[in-house]
């Protein structure tokens, strides 16, 4: 009996450690299921839709659900990111164009401190709402691993297009126009 117990305990411990390792590795991995769904045209619901996050430079919180009924272009950015700086004027220009059509850009700062983010917003004359995702609780659901990333969410709260790198003005204009036309 004893001859069986010790190896059995050793095997259980080894399996437990391997399971822990597998869990850790999978938690660090990237989630590309949204990309695949959007590519198929099987638009997924925006994750963490009701998660409330602090508004940059103001008190209070906002969630994606607060924009229900609007087309939302969610742009994940950080002040230190060069491509984000290149995108900012394009996004602000688009905001001026779409705000009257019941659509908005929504900035989400990630991996950044609030003072630097606020300075970024001021320097780029950003007028669209910006929220802070300190722990990545919102963007992790979108499979975000870095910045910039942009997700276009339709009026039903579904992700219909995304860019996991610096966006181009043409792509943004055409995509938003298409989504606005869908239900106009």
């Amino acid at each position: 009996m004893r001859r069986v117990v010790i190896p059995a305990v050793a095997v259980v411990i080894a399996v437990g450690l391997l399971a822990l390792l597998a869990f850790g590795v999978s938690a660090q991995g990237t989630n590309s299921s949204i990309d695949a769904s959007v590519a198929r045209g099987d638009y997924p619901q925006a994750p963490n839709y009701h998660l409330r996050l602090p508004i940059l430079g103001a008190s209070g919180t906002e969630s994606l659900a607060d924009f229900r009924g609007k087309v939302v272009v969610m742009n994940v950015f950080a002040s230190w990111c060069q491509p984000c700086q290149a995108e900012a004027p394009i996004l602000e220009q688009e905001q001026q164009r779409i705000v009257k059509n019941n659509a908005t850009i929504l900035g989400v700062t990630y991996l950044d401190n609030s003072s630097a983010s606020e300075a970024f917003v001021q320097q780029n004359h950003i007028t669209y709402p910006v929220i802070r995702d300190v722990n990545g609780n919102l963007v992790r659901g979108f499979g975000t691993t870095g910045v910039p990333e942009t997700f276009v969410i339709n009026r039903q709260g579904q992700i219909v297009a995304l860019r996991r790198y610096q966006l181009a003005g043409d792509w943004l204009q055409q995509t938003v126009a298409r989504v606005l036309d869908e239900h106009s």
Binding site: I6, I13, L17, A78, W80, L111, N113, S115, V134
Partner: protein, 171 residues
């Protein structure tokens, strides 16, 4: 400030106005510098070793990226405010989340990294404590057995064959 103004007024009355003005100017020039110089209570090098560059997922001390530089600048600002290392780390957690800490807090799943290694070590020591004396006892028992102990007797057929072989050998 009011004390300086009072001295100027007194000096004007006593005829030392130019000298008093000069002293007051020097005092005013030095005063803000003295106030602004807050003695730092933490060092960037010390903090860099204990926090992570959250975007690059490596210790800030070895990270060399725009995000790391932004984080360093932020820490420099906090050091200039005279915050302690603990206060700076708290502030960093508020800005970048718990992922910024090199040593995660001992709660939730993170507990495993604090509990598991000592537990494995303890199990290993306990296993050795149990098995080593047994091995020693067995070794001693084996050593204490007489080396000339007789093997089990041969069955009759084998014994007859052995005897036959030996008789051939003896000639």
């Amino acid at each position: 400030m009011s004390r300086i103004t009072h001295r100027i007024r007194t000096a004007r009355r006593s005829g030392f106005a130019p000298l008093a003005m000069l002293m007051a100017s020097i005092a005013l020039a030095l005063a803000p510098a003295a106030w602004a110089t807050t003695k730092p209570r933490a060092s960037l090098t010390d903090i860099e070793n204990d926090v992570m560059c959250t975007a690059c997922r490596e210790p800030l001390a070895v990270a060399n990226s725009p995000e790391a530089e932004s984080e360093r600048n932020y820490i420099r600002g906090l050091i200039a405010q005279g915050l302690t290392k603990a206060q700076i780390e708290q502030n960093l957690v508020a800005q970048y989340g718990e992922a910024v800490l090199g040593k995660p807090p001992a709660s939730g799943v993170n507990l495993t990294i604090y509990i598991l290694p000592p537990a494995v070590l303890a199990v290993g020591i306990a296993t050795l404590a149990v098995t080593l004396p047994r091995w020693r006892r067995r070794t001693r028992a084996a050593a204490s057995q007489p080396s000339g102990a007789l093997p089990p007797p041969l069955d009759p057929a084998d014994a007859a064959r052995l005897e036959h072989e030996l008789s051939n050998f003896r000639g």
